[in-house]
């Protein structure tokens, strides 16, 4: 067995492992979400809280503010203040409008995190979508890579199916690069609309580094798909050359 074959076999094994784990994760998410949504109706109790973290920037998107002077942190009846030490902190206070939403902001410089917990079922669905949709796209990419490896290991890399799979990988990567930050932005936007903020203006923060990386990888995959199609033509010529 050549080194390349051994490597392909190892990667295929890792893909199988990840696919198995991912499918189990999806199933667990689905069961948990169903339980979260149905539990109040079944048990008659209050809705469970689901937590998350969103990135926020101080200032309007694209125009960060410089730090104001006096710190003031005021909790509210619905505000569970879990503040750890601010690092070069902005004084930001948040009062929750939605009684089912508990927030705790933590800022460093102009970018920060807000840890929150919510009992609002719509927000819970959005949170789960933010986790499940990218996971489904990742699993799709893993599956396509696995199938690619199977064909390559059988000595048939230049098949039309592989060109299609590379094209799909490209589009799925683009999807992840757009869907994940978009859902994060929507979640952040929704949370910010459910709180009052005393202090600087806050806006949801999206790191374009992740999107940029996905877009680059998607372009690479789409270009590779075109190259594979050319390879398929050459392979066809070769196989029909006597």
């Amino acid at each position: 067995m050549t080194t390349a074959f051994k490597l392909a076999k190892a990667i295929r094994f890792l893909c199988d492992l990840s696919l198995g784990g991912g499918i189990c994760g999806l199933a667990w998410y689905a069961i948990w979400l169903t339980w979260l949504l149905l539990a109040p109706a079944i048990t008659g109790g209050s809705r469970h809280m689901v937590g998350g973290v969103i990135s926020l920037a101080v200032g309007e998107a694209g125009s960060p503010q410089s730090p104001p002077v006096s710190p003031a942190i005021i909790g509210g009846p619905d505000l569970s203040v879990g503040l750890s030490a601010f690092l070069q902190s902005f004084p930001v206070t948040m009062n929750s409008i939605d009684s089912g939403l508990v927030v705790s902001p933590k800022f460093s410089g102009t970018i920060g995190e807000m840890i929150f917990q919510t009992g609002n079922w719509r927000m819970q669905i959005l949170l789960f979508l933010g986790s499940i949709l990218p996971l489904i796209l990742y699993l799709g990419i893993l599956y396509l890579i696995r199938q690619l490896l199977v064909d390559a290991m059988q000595g048939m890399p230049f098949a039309i199916d592989n060109a299609r799979r590379l094209k799909w990988i490209g589009w799925l990567l683009l999807g992840i690069g757009i869907v994940k930050p978009l859902l994060n932005y929507l979640t952040g936007h929704w949370i910010l609309s459910a709180v009052t903020v005393q202090g600087p203006v806050l806006s949801p923060w999206i790191s374009l580094g992740f999107t940029g990386t996905c877009v680059l990888a998607a372009c690479f995959s789409l270009i590779l798909s075109v190259i594979f199609r050319h390879g398929i033509e050459l392979e066809k010529e070769r196989s029909l050359t006597v």
Binding site: K236, E237, L240, T241, V242
Partner: protein, 68 residues
């Protein structure tokens, strides 16, 4: 396709089977079938030379150009 391979005719003249010719020329029966059914896109000179040697003919006896 515009170039036709008259392998059938030559095999008949030399009273040889396709598999025998494939063995003598050193290519697979599948490839020879591709040639015989005019599905081949290209033929190597080495293959053409081997065919002419075994069938005792010239390339022009094997290859025929037919316009549309």
């Amino acid at each position: 396709m515009e170039i036709y391979v008259n392998l059938d005719l030559m095999l008949l003249k030399r009273r040889m089977s396709l598999s025998e010719l494939a063995d003598r020329v050193g290519i697979t029966l599948a490839n020879l079938s591709i040639l015989k059914t005019n599905k081949a896109r290209a033929i190597r000179f080495s293959t053409l030379a081997a065919l002419c040697r075994e069938l005792e003919c010239q390339p022009g006896d094997l290859l025929e150009y037919r316009g549309d």
